[in-house]
């Protein structure tokens, strides 16, 4: 018998007691208890991480989460971050942790911006124009979503080498400037824009690009926000392609570097955990900002389809 068993026992007793009074209430209680327990399981690694990055390496395993408040002075410090931020010598001069942060930011931001712009343009064209080859192109776009990206990685790598773009962010960004998934989402969103609005804008002398930019884009903004997050997340956290395409220490992105730190700091885990925690912040901030649009946008494609 320990704390956990007593807690479970207490929860079960409450359930039985409620069940004697009203069955409906007991089930409601059971439901929310289960949900809360699941939430606890999901959140505990985050709580653990938050404690681990501030604990001194000597006490990392001594306390599961935070040490008792009275001992914070002796056990909590910023040593992990100090080690993390230390410059490292490399063939291209000293590299700092912020350099990787910058690389990741450039890679994720440029790719996301390009994908939103180009995918929305293509999605708009496929949704609102009649032209030769439209059906074939739509089918091709849907079919290309089924092709796993890794299949193309070997020949793509060869191409990037031939183009002389290997070991540069450009070689990483160029091939991923459009997304079939993005086109699919924007096409779905643009279809629901009323044709009358587009025709009215056209009668008023609005150019075709003006219609796209000033009439349609503002109306599909929720989708743009949702796709923005999906694209940013997948490139910020992207590992496979950056790991293959980038070689020099000063060009690496965060996931690639953190993966290297995993073996480098095997005896001092607090350092790579601190890096991990920092790498989580930008996606979390973007997610909180776009949360509402994200959920509706992410699911609308699937629910409609």
């Amino acid at each position: 018998m320990n704390f956990f068993h007593l807690t479970f026992l207490a929860l079960a007793l409450v359930f039985v007691a409620l069940g004697l009074r009203s069955k409906k209430q007991a089930w409601k209680y059971a439901r929310w208890t289960l949900i809360s327990l699941a939430a606890l399981v999901v959140l505990s690694p985050f709580a653990w991480l938050l404690a681990a990055i501030f604990k001194d390496r000597s006490v990392l395993n001594e306390y599961v989460f935070f040490p008792p408040l009275g001992k914070w002075g002796a056990t909590m410090n910023l040593n992990n971050f100090r080690d993390l931020f230390q410059g490292r010598p490399s063939l291209r001069g000293t590299v700092f942790f912020w350099d990787y942060f910058l690389n990741s930011t450039i890679y994720a931001t440029v790719t996301t911006t390009a994908q939103i712009l180009f995918s929305s343009m293509a999605g708009f064209a496929l949704a609102k124009y009649e032209f030769r080859g439209k059906t074939a192109l739509t089918l091709f776009m849907l079919g290309s979503m089924m092709i796993p990206g890794v299949l193309l990685l070997a020949p793509l790598y060869k191409m990037v080498v031939d183009l002389g773009l290997v070991d540069s962010l450009a070689g990483l960004i160029l091939p991923s400037m459009v997304s079939a998934y993005g086109i699919f989402l924007f096409r779905q969103a643009c279809i629901s824009v009323p044709n009358e609005m587009i025709d009215a804008a056209r009668l008023d002398g609005c150019s075709e690009f003006g219609i796209y930019f000033r009439v349609v884009m503002p109306l599909v903004r929720p989708m743009a926000a949702a796709f923005c997050l999906v694209a940013f997340l997948s490139h910020w956290n992207g590992f496979f392609a950056p790991n293959i395409f980038l070689h020099s220490q000063d060009k690496l992105t965060l996931p690639v570097v953190l993966n290297l730190y995993l073996s480098e700091y095997r005896r001092n885990q607090g350092v790579f955990l601190a890096g991990t925690a920092l790498a989580m912040l930008p996606p979390a901030a973007l997610f909180l900002a776009l949360q509402k649009e994200f959920i509706s946008g992410l699911t609308s494609g699937a629910v409609k389809g």
């Binding site: 704390f3 956990f4 929310w32 289960l34 949900i35 999901v42 959140l43 690694p45 985050f46 653990w48 395993n61 599961v64 180009f118 343009m121 293509a122 064209a125 124009y129 009649e130 032209f131 192109l137 089924m146 796993p148 890794v150 299949l151 193309l152 990685l153 070997a154 020949p155 790598y157 060869k158 191409m159 080498v161 160029l174 459009v178 086109i183 044709n195 587009i198 075709e208 796209y212 997340l233 956290n237 590992f239 496979f240 293959i244 996931p255 953190l258 993966n259 995993l262 095997r266 885990q269 790579f272 955990l273 991990t276 790498a279 979390a284 997610f287 949360q291 699911t299 699937a302 629910v303």
Partner: protein
Amino acid sequence: MATATAFRPPKPRTKGIGPYLFLSPYLLVTAFFFLFPFFNALTLAFYQTNGPRSRIFVGFENFRFLLTDRTFHTALKNTTLYAIVSVFVQLPLSMGLALLLNSGSKRIRGIFRLIFFSPNLVGQILVGMIFSVLLLPRYGLVNRASQAILHWGLEINWLGDANFIMPAIILVSLWLWVGFNMVYFLAALQTVDKSLEEAARVDGANPWQVFWHVTLPSMRHVVVFVVIMSIIGSYQLFELPLTLLNESNGLGTDNAGLTLITYLNYMAFRSGDLGLGSAVGWVVALIIFTISLIQIRLTRAAED
């Protein structure tokens, strides 16, 4: 004339090269960085290469090698096991969680949805890094919790013992993906016609029957979508084992954590045989394509 056109329903019209201009960035990038490598991948699989620059035509030799390579079979077995668990354990858990959350006020639902989705913000590499510490024998949070609750598992070497490597990967994947799929199921549950469920209930159906015969069929499009997405994702499992099994370069003791993409990565980008890597890529693509097709056919058949 003017009145005749006015009464015609407005139709999207061709405006010269307009649509092609809007599509041009997509067409350019796709032709260059999708179609070209795609056809290259087709031919590359029939060559033996040594790095990106040298190649020899070997016909079906790469595929024959895969047929006989025990290591490849291990990778195929591990990945398939993972895919099966994803569909039959992870998705039911996601659905269960979605059903639990389906009632309750919108605000509370939103908060829990945010919590359950949060692991997905982290990315597989970072999740793998965190759990490589959480699963350490004696000190890991998972081991300690398991010891406290079940009196079992404190000394389990999840990431070193060949028997526990796949269970560990699956455990982490549950933490990561259950909430993600739940978001889809929850959204779909919101669109299910409540009066149909009510009618079934009035006719004396128990909650399970209502779910199985009314709720599930009316959200089948989303279920099919999520199943296919999970299978596609499962067969591309790579980053989680790579970071979790960092000490053995993602392979695990006795290759117990070897997946198809780990194998591809190893052959193509470490040994430099891009041809063999392409062949593995085609096998993965073929598996995904076949399963998706069967899945879609089965659903069609069930609808008719």
